[in-house]
């Protein structure tokens, strides 16, 4: 394949990775922004989303689309509820202390991971995509005969991958509308900026925290449900998204949602492109190197604000 079509293919693969990453990192960013909690268990909520998607689809059977629709509704909701319960049972009792919440969420990580191992088992299990047509993509080039369109062999994408990109965009827009246009969103933003004053204006901060923790986990689970027809559900699958989400959130600026989106696109795309042309390991090395550079030269992240 020529370089042009090859790059286009890599870009599309990168866009799929970015789409999933943006949802997962957004969850992490919202939780940190509002609660100042570094949620080390975030990757496990992602994994739990994928595993629950497998349970739901294999329980329902029938056409893959039925199971998938059910999974995309049920899995994020269930994971959100589990996270909210974890918040009430653990984080609330350690007063959201920054150091102790890290240790606390590490504990949650192991509990979820090992419980999954005991119930779901160590196998990787596939979930069928609801639809999966291969779409050949055209390429345009100036040749001796002028502007020509042709169909390079191997330049294609599946309809499901396009759906993933579109779904992530939709969720992102919905999330933005939720945060900026609804009362609950307003309360969340107010709590993020000054939780004490929010309390003095009738905001039940404890309840808001549980909702935010649940929302963050649900976003990760949603990303996982979308990815599980491409990858497979496995009890250790949470580690990679956790690392990448942290990379994204640090580069974007802790707690800055626009920064998170930009960084997720940047990291997702470069991960996809570098993985296709070189190797996935090099992609991770470069991403980690980027984090180091950001921490040295712009510790608050791309769009983060320095605290005053």
């Amino acid at each position: 394949m020529d370089f042009g079509p090859h790059l286009m293919l890599a870009t599309l693969e990168g866009a799929v990775i970015a789409a999933i990453l943006v949802l997962t990192a957004m969850g992490l960013s919202i939780v940190f922004g509002v609660m100042r909690v570094v949620n080390v268990a975030h990757g496990e909520f992602y994994m739990l989303g994928a595993v629950l998607a497998w349970f739901v689809t294999s329980f329902l059977g029938g056409h893959p689309a039925i199971g998938f629709v059910a999974a995309i509704l049920i899995a994020p909701l269930l994971v959100g509820l589990i996270a909210a319960a974890a918040d009430q049972l653990v984080l609330k009792h350690i007063d959201y202390d920054p150091d102790r919440t890290i240790v606390g969420t590490i504990g949650i990580l192991f509990i979820i991971q090992q419980t999954t191992l005991m119930t779901f088992g160590p196998e990787a299990r596939p979930v069928a995509a609801p639809f999966n047509q291969r779409l050949a993509l055209p390429w345009f080039e100036f040749t001796d005969n002028g502007f020509e369109m042709f169909w390079p062999w191997g330049l294609s994408i599946t309809s499901y991958k396009l759906f993933v990109i579109a779904a992530a965009l939709t969720v992102l827009v919905a999330l933005w509308l939720f945060l900026t246009r609804t009362r609950i969103g307003l309360i969340m933003r107010a709590t993020q900026q000054d939780s004490e004053t929010a309390q003095a204006f009738g905001v039940p901060v404890g309840l808001v925290y549980s909702c935010v923790f649940g929302l963050g986990a649900a976003l990760a689970a949603l990303g996982a449900v979308l990815v599980v027809p491409i990858q497979q559900a496995h009890y250790l699958m949470g580690a990679d998204p956790l690392l990448l989400s942290f990379i994204v959130v640090i580069i974007g600026g802790l707690g800055s949602l626009p920064g998170t989106v930009i960084a997720a696109i940047l990291i997702g795309m470069s991960d996809g492109i570098i993985s296709v042309f070189f190797s996935p390991t090099l992609a991770k090395i470069i991403a980690t190197f980027l984090v180091a550079m950001v921490l040295v030269f712009r510790p608050q992240g791309l769009l983060g604000r320095t605290s005053t």
Binding site: R183, L186, I187, R189, A190, Q193, D194, E196, T197, A198, Q199, A200, F201, G202, V203, P204, V205
Partner: protein, 231 residues
């Protein structure tokens, strides 16, 4: 109306208040005076439930406040203007007001009433609160608290760092709220600004209320100010 009886409170192991009692009635302005670190702001926070009370009681119209969860206190009708304004800086003016309105489900009429009190805010509704000038921020903090339609208004150093014309405007609003029947507790450093509008003055020293006196009596006895505050 607001009754504070012998409250003890503090931050974790550090106790700040050692038995403070005060009371304020409807249409009355009570001013708390005292040196820095005497516990004035802690009294306000204890009333709001932001600092836990270990002993004593706070009640509003006979209803206990100290046993409520913190977020329920403002819903009983307590409006709070914290020290340093504490606006939600990245929310717009309009959203800050909305936060106030939500406390007791107030609607458009309260919003209009508050915006009529502070017409300057009308032109800035879509601006981020953090970008307002100091005076406008104080207006917004006051407006936000009034959106609660409070029975009691707690003002913690509302004139701190403001130009005289702004101070005058805030003062007028406070007097007007008094006329509307609100009970007002005011913490203020500027004694001259206080004496002209207060009805009662409570001196706070080392976490205790040491003396409560009518403002008129205090005006007649400037020597008392010197002995209590050293001014």
């Amino acid at each position: 109306m607001l009754e504070v009886k012998n409250i003890h409170s503090g931050y974790g192991p550090v106790q700040v208040l050692f038995g403070v009692s005060l009371s304020v009635n409807a249409s009355e302005i009570l001013c708390l005076l005292g040196r820095n670190g005497a516990g004035k702001t802690t009294i306000m926070k204890s009333i709001m439930g932001l600092v836990p009370i270990t002993r004593g009681s706070v009640s509003l119209e006979g209803q206990p406040l100290h046993s409520l969860p913190t977020h329920r206190v403002p819903r009983m009708g307590v409006g709070y203007i914290p020290q340093g304004r504490r606006l939600f800086p990245e929310l717009t003016v309009s959203e800050n007001i909305e936060m106030g309105l939500m406390v007791r489900n107030e609607g458009a009429d309260t919003r209009d009433w508050v915006l009529d009190l502070f017409p300057r805010l009308k032109d800035r509704l879509r601006q981020q609160a953090g970008t307002l000038s100091g005076g406008e921020q104080q207006m917004l903090a006051t407006a936000r608290a009034l959106c609660v339609r409070p029975k009691v208004l707690l003002l913690d150093e509302p004139t701190e760092g403001l130009q005289p014309s702004m101070i005058e405007q805030i003062r007028q609003v406070v007097v007007r709220m008094k006329q509307e029947g609100i009970a007002i507790v005011l913490v203020e450093q500027r004694v001259d600004a206080v004496l002209s509008i207060a009805d009662k003055v409570t001196f706070v020293e080392n976490g205790k209320d040491v003396q409560t006196i009518g403002a008129a009596d205090l005006r007649d006895d400037p020597e008392l100010l010197r002995s209590r505050l050293g001014v």
